[in-house]
């Protein structure tokens, strides 16, 4: 008898009678202006929101960031926004991205209740490490992709299978030392969110 069989048998014997799968029928919070709420929440999670009218303005906003101006090694996965100082596809190993200073990445949907942006792996190019290994992260989203809550976000998301995707909400942080909030743990030290529209 394999462990698998033993475990499944034990679980079937032990479990209560099956019940139907519950559906969330509750009334989830909704915002009068979800886009504004999204931007406010980004600030609340220590991100830097920037609202711009179009792609060209997004490009200008990114290039105007202090972190961008000081950076030598940058990468963009969003055509038209910022530029890559290296050919990401030619990078052999993800570890070779260790000195990347700014990564510009696009995502959708963007969630107003928590300032999170869904980034599917397909938007990260050859190495998905790019979004977490870069010192500074810039997320580019569109206003029409803002949803109110996670319920709606999951309605819109289609997992790439096989694949990977992640909600990212603000820069990395920790409060493990005396509950003092420190921005910048192992992931990006800063997270600018450029919202187009």
């Amino acid at each position: 008898m394999s462990s698998r069989d033993d475990i499944l048998r034990a679980l079937r014997r032990a479990g209560p009678p099956p019940t139907p799968v519950p559906e969330w029928t509750g009334r989830a919070m909704r915002f009068d202006d979800p886009v504004s709420r999204f931007l406010e929440t980004v600030t609340a999670v220590a991100g830097t929101p920037l609202r711009v009218p179009d792609l060209a303005a997004a490009d200008a906003a990114v290039r105007g960031l202090e972190t961008w101006r000081r950076a030598r090694l940058t990468a963009t996965l969003v055509p038209g926004v910022g530029r890559s100082s290296l050919d990401l596809d030619a990078v052999a190993r993800p570890q070779d991205l260790r000195d990347l200073e700014v990564a510009v990445v696009g995502g959708a949907p963007a969630v107003a209740e928590n300032g999170a942006v869904w980034i599917p792996g397909s938007r990260l190019g050859r190495h998905r490490a790019v979004f977490v290994i870069a010192e500074h992260l810039v997320l580019v989203v569109r206003a029409e992709d803002v949803v109110h809550t996670m319920h709606e976000a999951y309605q819109r998301i289609q997992f790439e299978r096989p694949g990977w995707g992640s909600f990212v909400s603000g820069p990395s942080k920790t409060a493990d030392i005396e509950q003092a909030l420190v921005i910048g743990a192992h992931g990006a030290r800063s997270c600018a969110v450029v919202l187009i529209g």
Binding site: A14, G26, M29
Partner: protein, 469 residues
């Protein structure tokens, strides 16, 4: 059980007394926990439908346990389609052997690990280290306690029991930071540099699993630090360890669960990263190890099954007035606090017979639990369990038998009451001896009125004032 716990099990009252004897330490620990509780309150209050969400989260978890084997098989099927290799472990020993086998078979000697209470439970780190595999815990709190050679004392904030000065001293010794540096930002920066090299050099990343999605065959790992993502996007091998109870039916169920998880843990509307893994890195491997280790036994028990709903948010620890004043180590268990007390007692009632009694049954834990586990009721139910198994101290059982006997005979009760009241009035020192000592050491005795209420009632009734006092 992980490594060596600093306090052996079964000693909560004594260990707690030692912990809180140091006033600055207990003040700080209590304030730290209450701070998290307050943040949680703010986070919860920002969601008008919070109580409905808790109900929904509870319902999802309750439902999953009613079809657990089916969902795990569905998960396995879909995970396999994603190129994920699924393994099954009956217990901690099998889990450790499987993980070790995977790593050793691929020549891995350097591993990074993000937070997983399951791997703590199984004692994975010492197992791997004894076999020549370096394991670096990458969650900052976990790394701190790892360098200190201690187990975590909280499931979300592992080093909550340490001051920044102590951590500064540790980093001075182990990471070469300047002596006397105790600023959290600077210390975190030092840890970032130190751990970055570990991530870059790692040959495999081990993570826990917050949720496994049956419908799509993926696993979700959430962090604030990004350590799970660093640990799984750099090395080509990802090993994810999960308890059987972590599976959820569908992606949309995460909408409910992720909305309550971070808010309950720290009050944030979400964790910084919530990564959904549906396969290995290109050219890499991904493994999921599904572990029972006593969970099927808990599943069989109606009264305690809800403890398997736990999503490891830590809210019950933060709100527990006892945990905050006694510290995680006084529990002598991998997971302390209210949920830890239930899970540990279930695993080993004899060793942990003290834990269901390390609670005033205030019920705050039950009110904060995002999946509505009736924790304080489970603690009470477990006391019955212990009494039934003869694991309640004889002294206490005899006292209760005697008390019950007296209470069943009103005349005897009235007499006993008269005696106690007399002693309180005339010879309180007698009551401060023996069992009374535990009361009277720090508290004044109650008054000893001449007449009990029933005496008064009796007297006035006899006095003929309309039959009532």
């Amino acid at each position: 059980m992980s490594g060596s716990l600093p306090v052996p099990p079964g000693q909560h009252p004594r260990a707690a007394a030692r912990f809180l004897a140091q006033e600055t330490r207990v003040r700080r620990h209590d304030a730290a926990g209450w701070h998290l509780r307050s943040n949680r309150d703010r986070g919860a209050a920002s969601v008008p439908e919070w109580e409905a969400l808790r109900e929904a989260a509870s319902a999802i978890k309750g439902h999953v346990l009613s079809r657990l084997a089916d969902y795990l098989e569905e998960f396995e099927r879909n995970a396999a389609q994603n190129g994920i290799q699924v393994h099954w472990a009956r217990d901690g020993a099998e889990h450790n052997a499987i993980v070790h086998g995977l790593l050793a078979g691929r020549g891995v000697t350097r591993v990074v690990k993000s937070k997983s209470m399951l791997t703590e439970e199984c004692g994975l780190n010492p197992f791997l280290e004894a076999r020549g595999i370096e394991v670096t815990d990458t969650d900052l709190g976990e790394r701190i306690v790892q360098l200190l050679g201690e187990p975590p004392s909280h499931i979300v904030v592992p080093a909550i029991h340490r001051t920044k000065e102590e951590i500064g001293e540790l980093f001075y010794r182990r990471l070469g930071t300047p002596a006397g540096l105790a600023d959290p930002t600077a210390l975190t920066e030092a840890a970032r540099h130190h751990l970055r090299q570990k991530f870059l050099d790692a040959q495999a990343g081990i993570t826990g699993v917050n949720f496994a999605i049956a419908e799509t065959g993926g696993v979700v790992v959430v962090t604030n630090e990004g350590n799970a993502d660093m640990g799984t996007s750099l090395p080509p091998i990802h090993v994810a360890c999960m308890g059987v109870e972590k599976v959820v039916p569908r992606a949309r169920d995460l909408g409910v669960l992720l909305r309550v998880l971070a808010r309950s843990a720290t009050g944030q509307p979400s964790s910084v990263y919530a990564s959904h893994f549906h396969g290995p890195l290109p050219g890499g491997e991904m493994h999921v190890v599904i572990v029972d280790n006593g969970r099927s036994a808990i599943l069989a028990r109606d009264a305690f099954r809800p403890s398997l709903w736990c999503i490891r948010c830590g809210a019950c620890l933060n709100t527990c007035p006892v945990y905050r004043r006694s510290g995680g180590y006084s529990y002598g268990a991998t997971i302390p606090g209210p949920i830890g007390s239930v899970l540990s007692a279930l695993r080993n009632p004899r060793a942990h017979a003290d834990l269901p009694f390390a609670s005033s049954l205030c019920g705050s834990c039950s009110d904060v639990c995002p999946v509505r586990i009736d924790l304080h009721q489970e603690l009470l139910a477990f006391r019955r369990e212990l009494a039934g198994q003869g694991l309640v101290p004889l002294r206490k059982r005899l006292a209760m038998k005697a008390a019950s006997l007296v209470m069943r005979r009103p005349a005897l009760y009235a007499l006993a009451g008269r005696v106690v009241r007399f002693l309180l009035r005339a010879a309180p020192w007698a009551l401060r001896l023996g069992p009374g000592a535990a009361w009277a050491r720090q508290r004044a005795l109650p008054p000893g009125p001449r007449e009990s209420f029933r005496d008064l009632w009796q007297r006035r009734a006899a006095g003929g004032e309309g039959g009532t006092p």
